[in-house]
């Protein structure tokens, strides 16, 4: 067996056999599912909170605006006046009081909400809309406009998007693409952080165990570093595979068992709530599946593979170099910024710029810059990226990957034999010349 495969094998076995790996692998899907269930339960609990609000409408025009709903019921005390209404609201511990002054069209602050707590924006916005609509309707009637005629005259338009070769796409297809790209990019970031850290810890472990000198009297530091990165990658892939399997099965089983809708937990996300609507509508479900089939799947899988490996190697060689430079994990903090910064930037650019405009300047530039390209390009690929951009981005990624591995191995070679000194960035530059 070659030296490199020996090292890969040892690293893989060492990672996989580790107790914390086993615990992490089998416990974290349980924790994740538990969290989702807990959050959806809490959301339901939160929305079940009923409140009663006193209405004092001195203009007498808005009585029908305040109708009771599941969450809110109204007590109309317009005949008792504002002060008496306040007393009642306080004594009966009502949630609040809405006061509308006599001439809402002309007063400066026609509507006021009184209460101990500030009500949610959603609620205030809802009340504003209702009152606005009522006043607008009254104004329209005053202008002699028939409201029913106006209502029937309204129309809605869904723009059909087609490219020049005749393939049509829809808003839904955009959501599907964003979902796929976002998931791939996010997965890559998590993978880099979790397994990059693992590489780093394993380097530090060899340093603190003092076995490092024994090893590198037999193998080249470069072989050791690459073996470590590859072995840890394989362990990572194993863990992810187990997660996907175990997590998926658990989610299905639990959902069926408890009848809790897990997607309620992510309802704050507009994309997810769209997905929820989709899931509820069987016709849309078929459309969704059609859209998934229409995705450039081959490009997507191939791109995922290339960017995953390129991006992961690029970052984990930096992680390995950091591990080599320090004596213990607490000293790594100062070197973390160059890793975390581009990753965060890539994720933000991905979730804002790419989803907003996948082929805009910002998205394009960041999908070509090597440190951010793996994540940003993965998010763009579902939207069909010009071939030259992909080629340029991959070429740059490979060049940078070769450079960081070289750079990392230089630091690694010197760093693994340095003890008792907390290096600065200046020291690292000096080590390159040793």
């Amino acid at each position: 067996m070659s030296i490199l495969s020996l090292i890969i094998k040892r690293e893989y076995i060492a990672r996989v056999r580790n107790k914390s790996f086993l615990i992490m692998t089998f416990l974290s899907p349980l924790i994740l599912v538990g969290m989702i269930l807990l959050i959806s339960y809490l959301t339901q609990l939160n929305s079940e909170d009923k409140r009663t609000i006193v209405v004092v409408d001195e203009s007498g025009q808005f009585e029908t605006v305040f109708f009771n709903t599941d969450k809110t019921s109204y007590v109309n005390l317009s005949d008792q006046g504002l002060d008496a209404g306040k007393e009642v609201a306080k004594d009966d511990a009502y949630y609040g009081l809405i006061h509308i002054s006599k001439n809402p069209e002309t007063a400066t602050n026609p509507v006021t909400f009184y209460g101990n707590e500030t009500p949610s924006f959603d609620y205030i916005g809802d009340i504003e809309d209702r009152i606005e609509k009522r006043i607008t309707d009254q104004n329209l009637v005053a202008q002699g406009i028939n409201l029913t005629a106006l209502e029937t005259a309204k129309s809605t338009i869904d723009i059909n998007i087609e490219n020049f070769s005749g393939e049509s796409s829809s808003k839904m297809s955009n959501w599907v693409k964003a979902g796929f790209g976002g998931a791939a990019g996010y997965l890559l970031m998590m993978f880099i952080i979790i397994y990059g850290n693992m590489v780093m810890r394993s380097v530090i472990e060899e340093k603190t165990n003092r076995i490092i000198e024994v090893i590198i009297s037999s193998v080249k530091p470069f072989q050791l570093m690459m073996g470590k990165i590859l072995g840890t990658t394989l362990a990572g892939i194993t863990q992810f595979a187990i997660w996907v399997l175990v997590g998926g099965v658990l989610l299905v089983v639990l959902t069926a068992f408890f009848g809790v809708d897990p997607s309620a937990a992510t309802a704050v996300n507009p994309a997810a709530s769209q997905a929820q609507q989709i899931a509820q509508d069987p016709n849309m479900m078929i459309e969704l599946l059609q859209e998934v089939q229409k995705l450039p799947l081959l490009q997507l899988v191939g791109g995922f593979f290339i960017y995953f490996i390129g991006g992961y190697f690029l970052y984990s060689s930096i992680y390995a170099a950091i591990g080599a430079a320090v004596d213990n994990e607490t000293d790594t903090q100062q070197f973390m910024l160059p890793i975390i910064m581009p990753l965060m930037l890539a994720i933000y650019v991905g979730f804002f710029a790419v989803i907003d405009n996948p082929h805009g300047t910002v998205a394009t530039v960041f999908s070509i810059i090597p440190l951010t390209s793996p994540i940003v390009m993965l998010m763009r690929i579902p939207f069909e990226v010009p071939l030259w951009q992909i080629i340029l981005s991959i070429t740059l990624l490979i060049a940078t990957f070769v450079f960081t591995v070289w750079f990392g191995s230089k630091i690694y070679r010197v760093g693994i034999l340095m003890y008792g000194k907390k290096p600065t960035y200046k020291d690292l530059i000096k080590w390159l010349k040793y």
């Binding site: 060492a14 076995i211 024994v214 034999l417």
Partner: protein, 312 residues
Amino acid sequence: MNSLLVADTVSKKFGDFTALNDVSITVPEGSIFGLLGPNGAGKTTLIRIINQITMPDTGSVTLGGEPLQQHHIRDIGYMPEERGLYKSMKVGEQVLYLAQLKGMSKAEAKTRAKHWFEKLEIGDWWGKKIQELSKGQAQKIQFVVTVMHQPKLLIFDEPFSGFDPINANLIKDEILQLRDEGATVIFSTHRMESVEELCDHIALINKSNKILDGEINTIKRAYQNNTFDIGVQVVDETAFAKAQQQLASSFKVTPAQFKSLGNEHKLRVEMGDNGTPNELLSTLQTYGQVTHFVEVIPSVNDIFIQTVSQNK
């Protein structure tokens, strides 16, 4: 005798710091070679260069006449001063892994490992993890790992630190046996007792320069100073006091430290080129019974301290 390893004017700088300055050593085949020097002298750097962990800036190293190449790492067994093993790995797996890294096949490694485990009577540790062993036990494993692939050249950096006296002796005997079987050994240490016992050649490195090297007895002879420790059971105290003054006028006389049962006068007399042992002995005889008369051979420790302080 052929030389197995020759380092020729090797220099190494780390930034502004010179770790080795034109150091040359020649290690004869089948010898035990002591590489001595205070902490930070550059011993470890030289050893790392021999192990191809670090590359020299200038100078060259040859092993068996060939310039050092990648495949030579199989001919070298190295036990570094900073040593350790994977704590959570099982002893057997670890030994096999490290032997395979040195180019042995798995089957071969297994046979050799079993042989050593039997020899050192540690067979029942095979399935244990390193963290379950004591420090001394782990050191034994470390020794097995170092010698398992039957290297031509064995390098030990401070080998006895961490061993209890019994195990240190055991390891020492194993090293001597390996030497007798044809291996060449380099010892790096600043503990002189072990050098005295084991080494036949030494090189002394101080502040990145080699300041002394050669065969140990030749060096000792060069530092021999015609010095004797004497003990005399004196009859006439006043006469002896005079004689002592006379001795002190021509030689350097200091009180000597050695163990004896009587209450004799104990002196150390450094004669240099001014006298012979016979003359000294006949003078002493006239004052009483000479109970002790031993030449002081310079210990490696003395030579070490003397040369290092001279070079300050």
